[in-house]
């Protein structure tokens, strides 16, 4: 009942429990002030306290502060990542930047061929912040005394004077291939100063090109397309170890059993050591590298001479050339059964035009490399593969190696025909064979200037270091193999007083009097600097002008076209498909020089390390700590030996052995490597940098100088060697415990042969079921995240591992840390050797890697990360509730809540939880404790020197010591997508594919699928419902959210 005002009620006593609010209104319509007396006093009190504090205790900050208004425009989007398209080496990439700093190298999804960066491209972001980079130009004085800083002006003066004076006696040594504009700069430079340009690359191999030219003449060498090949026969093939041009993605496309069924790809590998490619093979035949060509020729003989297939049969002299390589002969010499050759020949004949025969760079860099290449080309030609399973583009350049050129340069230097030597990217004092004696030759030059980013092995014997910017700081262009060009675009201003090497080259040329485009670019850049106070970068103007003139001629708005390219990062110039000429009979002459010989003695193979490759990124903690996918060794080199030989010598992993070859002898830690040919030894290249920096120097041994040059190329395999036991042991940092998996006893990895898969798509997924669970099920409303990993697609390359490390701020723990079993990686790729079926089953001895398993192993890869179990065993045992289930199915780890009992890690059947044993990401300056525990100093060296912490992803907490961590399914990306959905008014409804964890984004073979399993239309629920899907360790009843899809081997 409403109260009537007239109704005279007696005054109510004041109820003090009721809040009395004096409402004040302001004429301007601002908020009414709701303040009672007490509140007023409270605020007044707080305000005066604050004033008192501010006037007495606090000071105006004395650090220099950066005004916000002067930042680049896009940086104003605080808290949001910006992406820049660029090209790293020849890998197109998007660089994710946050608040102006690059934090992650991601794939460029728009690129037609290469959508994911490899390990080294991903790790480039760490190199950018490498504290061992030189911060400005240095006067090195060929290491007479410590390097002294020198101004750019002084250096420019010296360099331009030298360029002018020594015209005609100038050489530029570079490993950068670059794109058309870069090449043009070099051409112009060479023209202006009559300079000689020497392209070198330590792992390039002239034999491939020579063989190709002799087979088909001066035509571009086509690239194989594995997505079109049903059968691949590899001779020491390495296309999955070091894929070019999207080969890994193509290969995986062929390995999808659901899509391909009967036309599933099949890979047969002949090899001496176990490579990643061989580990993925359906059939693997061990063979010494020196017999590779014989094996290829045996197939050629069988196909051409016995079965009279292909046009080559009519070539003159073919009969005489191939006759010694009849299958029986080769079988007798190599020890491979004749019927194996015949069977493979059968398969190849059946798959004419649908197969690829391929060799690998290490295999062809042997004395018989040309014969091998020729045999491979002959086989492909015979089988009619060339137009069908190969991409033939007119503008694919013919690769040419380096050592021959380096040899020429050394000769020129020694002859005194070079006075000024400029070195860009190349590091011959690290990676050239010692027989060239390049160091001594280099001393003959009057002036040596290195454009390295640090005082590396070569730069320290130079006069000056014209410190080059990192590729992420500089302009340029690049070429990816099949007619695609990319821009190299900086995503940050140079961190230090450095310039891109192209910038410097252009400027110096212009200042030294070069005319034409060099001078124009220099002038344009200077004008630009005057106008906008930007960085002097003539390379930008050069590339832009060159591209506009060449590539955008038809465009109306060239400026717009340039911008589009910058945005997209690449341009496809197509390139006409040129028909391949007929195989030249003269090429058979090469083969005639190749004699089938008995394999005698040991053969050493020096293969590029999977992560380090040529060692040029040798100071990168992520790469150094990356466990080799096959040996699983990190932080050092090893000598891989066949298990039988290893056992005979009575060795333990890490025992030093002395291997003598090419007149030098090396002590290397021995490693019992499954699948090695008994007479083959293998050691990785890329280690042993002496002047890489504080992280990578003196890790392992550098075998490059020990290589011999033959026919102008270093011999990297088939090197005859002797081996003996040496004293001592060098512990190997092996990131894996047991190697062997007996799937009958432990069905952890679903595997099936193609025939059994076709008979029953679920074969290989059988498991012991768990019992009833006492735990209530978690309720999820709309979303439950899940993942599937297709083991048929996964090649074990490890791109996901580095992507995860970069995305989630995972620290590097160093060799000691790995030895102690404390690697922090949230994602790992378990490598198992599949125990063959045995009558009566294996007993426990199977885990000791018996010879029956590891001599002829079938390798399995299993990416392992937190399984986000439904009944997570970690969640129930944490007394602090630091790990719990989210509504959307994530097993969350709350760092703030974690006190570190480690019970969760103990109770995790997958052992994916990682504990912060130390403060990895904090400098610990206490001297006493640094002496007691030297590791803490090393951790700071590896993770937090200089600007290193700038690499950290601000979306992810940097963990403190004493807390547990693990894969979060990239929860920061989930939250980001969710926020975006909310902003767009979708109320948390996420589209499929909107959340892509770092590992999935980096996977070249698209093996990882992530998404909402409750959305029946999502990709992940489709793959999750596949009969191939298996959730491992069902017996424990933990119910993982990750399903592994059967690896289907194409075998009977």
């Amino acid at each position: 009942m409403p109260k009537h005002p007239d109704n005279h009620e007696p005054a109510k006593p004041i109820d003090f429990t009721e809040e009395i609010v004096h409402r004040v209104e302001f004429p301007d319509g601002s908020e009414p002030l709701a303040l009672d007396r007490r509140e007023f006093f409270r605020m007044a009190g707080a305000a005066s306290a604050a004033v008192a504090l501010a006037t007495t205790g606090c000071q105006i900050p004395t650090e220099p502060i950066v005004p916000y208004v002067n930042r680049p425009e896009e940086q104003r989007k605080i808290g949001k990542p910006m992406f820049y398209a660029t090209t790293l080496g020849n890998i197109p990439a998007l660089v994710r930047t946050r608040e102006g700093r690059p934090i992650l190298v991601e794939g460029n999804p728009s690129h037609p061929r290469i959508q994911t960066p490899n390990l080294r491209a991903q790790a480039a972001v760490l190199d950018l912040y490498d504290p061992d980079r030189a911060t400005g130009p240095l006067s090195v004085r060929r290491s007479k005394g410590l390097p002294k800083p020198v101004g750019w002006e002084v250096l420019t003066k010296k360099a331009t004077d030298a360029l002018q004076e020594s015209r005609g006696k100038i050489a530029l040594l570079t490993s950068y291939e670059g794109g058309p504009a870069t090449q043009d700069v070099l051409k112009e430079f060479s023209k202006a100063f009559d300079a000689k340009i020497f392209h070198v690359s330590p792992l390039e191999n002239d034999r491939e090109t020579l063989a190709w030219k002799s087979c088909f003449g001066e035509v571009p060498k086509p690239l194989p397309r594995f997505d079109k090949a049903e059968l691949v026969v590899g001779f020491g093939a390495e296309f999955l170890d070091f894929p070019e041009n999207g080969m890994d993605a193509d290969y995986a496309e062929r390995r999808d059993p659901e899509k391909r069924k009967n036309t599933l790809g099949r890979l047969i590998a002949f090899e001496g050591r176990l490579s990643l490619t061989g580990a993925n093979a359906d059939e693997r035949i061990r063979l010494r590298p020196s017999h590779m060509a014989a094996a290829a020729l045996a197939l050629a003989h069988e196909i051409i001479m016995v079965r009279r297939i292909g046009p080559a049969a009519s070539l003159e002299n073919v009969r005489e050339t191939l006759a010694p390589f009849a299958v029986e002969n080769v079988a007798r010499t190599t020890g491979v059964e004749a019927k194996t050759f015949k069977r493979i020949a059968d398969e190849l004949v059946r798959k004419q035009g649908k197969s690829v025969v391929i060799s690998g760079s290490t295999a062809t860099s042997q004395a018989h490399g040309e014969a091998l290449e020729t045999a491979v080309a002959l086989l492909n030609y015979t089988l009619g593969n060339y137009p069908k399973t190969f991409d033939i583009r007119s503008n694919t350049p013919l690769r040419s190696g380096g050592v021959k050129r380096l040899e020429t340069l050394a000769d020129e230097l020694r002859a005194g025909r070079i006075d000024v030597l400029l070195v860009a990217g190349a590091n011959p004092l690290y990676d050239a064979p010692a027989s060239l004696n390049f160091a001594q030759a280099m001393q003959k030059a009057k002036l040596v200037i290195s454009f390295a980013d640090r005082v590396d092995e070569t730069a320290r014997m130079a006069d000056f270091l014209a410190t080059a910017s990192h590729p992420l700081e500089s302009w340029g262009d690049a070429r990816t193999d099949a007619g695609l060009f990319g821009v190299v675009q900086p995503s940050i201003r140079p961190l230090y007083d450095t310039h891109g090497w192209l910038d410097v080259l252009i400027s110096w040329s212009a200042l030294a009097g070069a005319k034409g485009p060099l001078a124009d670019a220099h002038k344009a850049s200077l004008d630009h600097v005057m106008q906008k106070a930007l960085v002097h970068n003539p390379a930008y103007h050069y590339v832009k002008t060159y591209w506009s003139a060449r590539f955008f001629t038809g465009q109306i708005d060239q400026e717009q076209a340039w911008r589009d390219v910058l945005k997209k990062g690449w341009i496809d110039l197509g390139g006409t498909r040129a028909p391949l000429p007929a195989f030249r009979a003269s090429a058979l002459a090469t083969l005639r020089n190749y004699k089938l010989s008995e394999g005698k003695g040991l053969e050493l193979e020096c293969f590029p390390n999977h992560a380090l490759y040529d060692g040029s990124q040798g100071n990168n903690g992520w790469l150094l700590e990356f466990p080799d996918p096959i040996s699983r060794v990190a932080w050092g080199d090893w000598l891989a030996m066949a298990p039988s030989r290893f056992d005979e010598m009575g060795l333990e992993n890490g025992d030093l052995v002395e291997v003598a070859f090419n007149g030098s002898s090396w002590k290397l830690p021995a490693f019992r490597q499954a699948g090695m040919h008994r007479d083959v030894l293998a050691a990785p290249l890329g280690w042993g940098r002496s002047h890489a920096g504080q992280i990578g120097s003196e890790v392992g041994r550098n075998l490059f100088p020990a290589l011999q040059v033959s026919d102008g190329a270093p011999v990297r395999s088939g090197i005859s060697a002797t081996l003996k036991k040496a004293n001592g042991n060098e512990p190997l940092a092996i990131c894996q415990g047991g190697d062997v998996l007996d799937r009958v006893r432990r069905p952890l990895v679903p595997v099936a042969s193609l025939s059994s898969y076709l008979a029953d798509p679920a074969s290989g997924t059988g498991q012991t079921p768990g019992g009833e669970s006492i735990w209530p099920k978690h309720e999820s409303k709309d979303i439950r995240w899940g993942m599937t990993i297709d083991l048929s697609r996964c090649t074990g390359c490890g791109n996901c591992v580095v992507a995860c490390q970069a995305e989630n701020n995972i620290p590097v723990v160093g060799k000691r840390g790995v030895l102690d079993g404390r690697e922090m990686s949230w994602m790992r790729i378990d490598r198992y050797y599949d125990a063959p079926e045995k009558k009566g089953g294996w007993d426990d001895s199977v885990f000791q890697a018996p010879p029956e398993v590891v001599e002829e192993p079938k390798t399995l890869f299993q990416p392992m990360l937190c399984q986000h179990c439904e009944n997570a065993p970690c969640e129930t045992v944490c007394p602090f509730v630091a790990t719990m289930h989210s509504e959307d199915g994530l097993n969350q780890q709350v760092y703030n809540r974690c006190v570190g009992t480690r019970y969760c890690a103990n109770n995790c059947p997958f052992k994916v939880r990682r504990f912060n044993w130390f403060d990895y990401q904090k400098p610990r300056p206490n001297l006493l404790f640094q002496v007691l525990i030297p590791e803490i100093k090393r951790h700071a060296t590896l993770n937090v020197r200089g600007k290193m912490q700038m690499k950290n992803n601000p979306e992810v907490t940097v963990r403190y010591r004493g807390v547990m961590e693990k894969c979060s399914f990239c929860v920061q990306r989930i939250m980001d997508a969710r926020e975006k959905a909310r902003r767009e008014g979708r109320k948390g409804e996420l589209r499929d594919g909107e959340v892509v964890p770092a590992c999935m984004a980096a996977c070249p073979s698209k093996a990882i699928v992530f998404g909402n399993v409750l959305d029946s239309a999502s990709n992940v629920s489709r793959t999750g419902k596949s009969p191939r899907a298996m959730k491992i360790l069902e017996i424990t009843n933990v119910i993982p959210s990750i399903a592994y899809l059967t690896k289907v081997r194409n075998e009977k």
Binding site: G737, M864, V877, F880, V899, R902, N916, G962
Partner: protein
């Protein structure tokens, strides 16, 4: 007694050499005139009540002996090592010890379970044996209880120092907090541990202290220095020794004994849940609770025995802690040793019987894998060596007793090492198998915990009566002990 003139059968026992471990047959005193078996006296040396006070209070009232100082110096140095190690550990992080992935628990939890196990004997001796009216317990119960307390103190530090962030250990307490609505996880066995151990520690301390009251009063009454008198007066809570006080005291003691008895079984049961409630093969077994309790009693008795051998030697208490006491303990060790051996065998049987690959593998790996040596030490020391106690000579010789008791403790330390390390180091995924190597700090923390234990024990024997005087008097033959002529004479004088 039939005849006033007949001497007490106890009077002839001067020391260990007179004891045989068998009852004495006294002729003609049986109910039908035959012989009666009387057990040998618990105190030898024809001690009077006054002697008891003198002998036992002596060590509290006099400046410590040289031997004590030597022991104290050694124990103190070991404690110093512990403090140094902990300082390093707290500053640098858990990485200073050898634990890793997959072995997330190493020294800390091994030592924790070891010390908690040691702690069981004290309460068992004082509570369970009290309830079973085992009079021989009186000589050893005080020090056994003290040992329990110190062992629990040693054990108590490990769950804290093993944490990654020990400064937040208090988060385990279910106390109202300002950390939001978060509460501890009652599903976690580690949370149960907190309750179990704190309850056990509290009850043990109260039980021990209540038992100390009459003796503290004795010390007070004997004190000559006013400060000593004041201190012990305060400590003895005004004990008067009146009948009423004794009545209440005995009732309280009985109740506390009844309360403490279930704890003997509950604590190690709950500690075993730390393992049994996990899903790790080798841990996830139902046998763990009884197996742990038996193992705890086994190791606890061995530790008591070790201490007794030293104590009677160093403090000249051979008349109170006689060889008969030690033989009684040896018998219990032998029994529990066999039970532990049975548990080991049962585990193996069940692992085989379950048919589980993972379970079976863990046990085979335990015995024959890379840590087979530790399993061998464990099995030998725990299941085989105590069998020597079947031989009477061995169980009645202080030196053999000492050796075997120490070996049993070594074995029991390795039992925990085996359970924790071998189960974790090779579990489900062969890829994640690893090894655990103890570092300097693992060892120093282990040694340091012994330092802490012995330091506390030495302080205890220095400042408190290490044998329950009042209870010992209760089990002496009043005929012998009441007085001796010379005492009477001196009193009269």
């Amino acid at each position: 007694m039939k005849s006033e003139t007949m001497k007490s059968p106890y009077e002839t026992f001067a020391g260990d050499s007179d004891l045989h471990g068998v009852p004495i047959a006294v002729e003609g005193v049986g109910p039908f005139g035959g012989s009666e078996l009387i057990s040998e006296p618990l105190v030898t040396g024809n001690k009077t009540y006054a002697d008891v006070d003198r002998d036992i209070a002596f060590h509290v009232e006099n400046f410590p002996t040289r031997r004590w100082w030597i022991c104290f110096f050694i124990a103190g140095s070991m404690l110093g090592l512990l403090l140094f190690s902990l300082a390093t550990l707290f500053y640098v992080g858990e990485g200073v010890v050898g634990i890793n992935h997959p072995v997330g628990w190493g020294t800390f939890i091994v030592n924790f379970v070891f010390w908690i196990g040691i702690g069981h004997a004290g309460t068992l001796i004082s509570a369970v044996l009290f309830l079973f009216r085992q009079k021989w317990r009186t000589a050893i119960n005080r020090s056994a209880e003290a040992m329990t307390l110190f062992a629990v103190a040693c054990a108590g530090i490990f769950p804290i120092i093993h944490l990654g962030r020990p400064w937040f250990a208090y988060w385990l307490m279910p106390i109202p907090n300002g950390r939001g609505p978060l509460w501890i996880n009652f599903n976690s066995a580690l949370a149960w541990d907190i309750f179990a151990i704190s309850t056990y520690g509290t009850i043990s301390a109260v039980f021990w202290y209540v038992g100390l009251l009459p003796d503290l009063a004795t010390i007070r009454d004997r004190a000559t220095h006013p400060w000593r008198r004041k201190l012990y007066h305060w400590l003895s809570l005004g004990w008067t020794g009146s009948n009423r006080a004794w009545k209440h005291y005995e009732a309280a003691y009985l109740i506390l004994a009844a309360l403490a008895t279930p704890l003997v079984f509950s604590v190690h049961t709950i500690v075993s849940f730390d393992f049994a409630t996990s899903i790790m093969p080798g841990w996830h077994t139902t046998i763990f609770p009884p197996y742990f309790v038996i193992g705890a009693i086994f190791s606890g008795f061995a530790m008591v025995l070790t201490l007794m051998v030293f104590m009677r030697q160093v403090f000249n208490l051979k008349n109170y802690i006689t060889i008969n006491h030690m033989e009684a303990m040896a018998k219990i060790i032998m029994l529990t040793g066999m039970l532990v051996g049975l548990a080991y065998s049962t585990e193996f049987f069940v692992a085989w019987y379950s048919g589980s690959e993972y379970e079976g593998f863990v046990f085979r790996n335990r015995a024959f894998g890379p840590y087979g040596w530790s399993y061998f030490i464990m099995f030998t020391c725990n299941a085989i060596i105590p069998q020597f106690f079947w031989i009477k000579k061995i169980r009645r010789n202080p030196y053999t007793l000492l050796v075997i008791a120490i070996l049993v403790n070594v074995g029991m330390w390795f039992e925990r090492y085996v359970i924790i390390v071998t189960s974790l180091h090779r579990d489900f995924l062969p890829s994640s198998w690893g090894m655990y190597h103890m570092t300097f700090f693992d060892w120093s923390i282990l040694i340091g915990s012994f330092g802490l234990f012995f330091t506390l024990f030495l302080l205890f024997v220095r400042f408190l009566p290490s044998i329950a005087m009042s209870e010992v008097k209760g089990v002496m033959d009043p005929e012998v002990a009441r007085c001796r002529p010379e005492d009477d004479a001196s009193e009269e004088a």
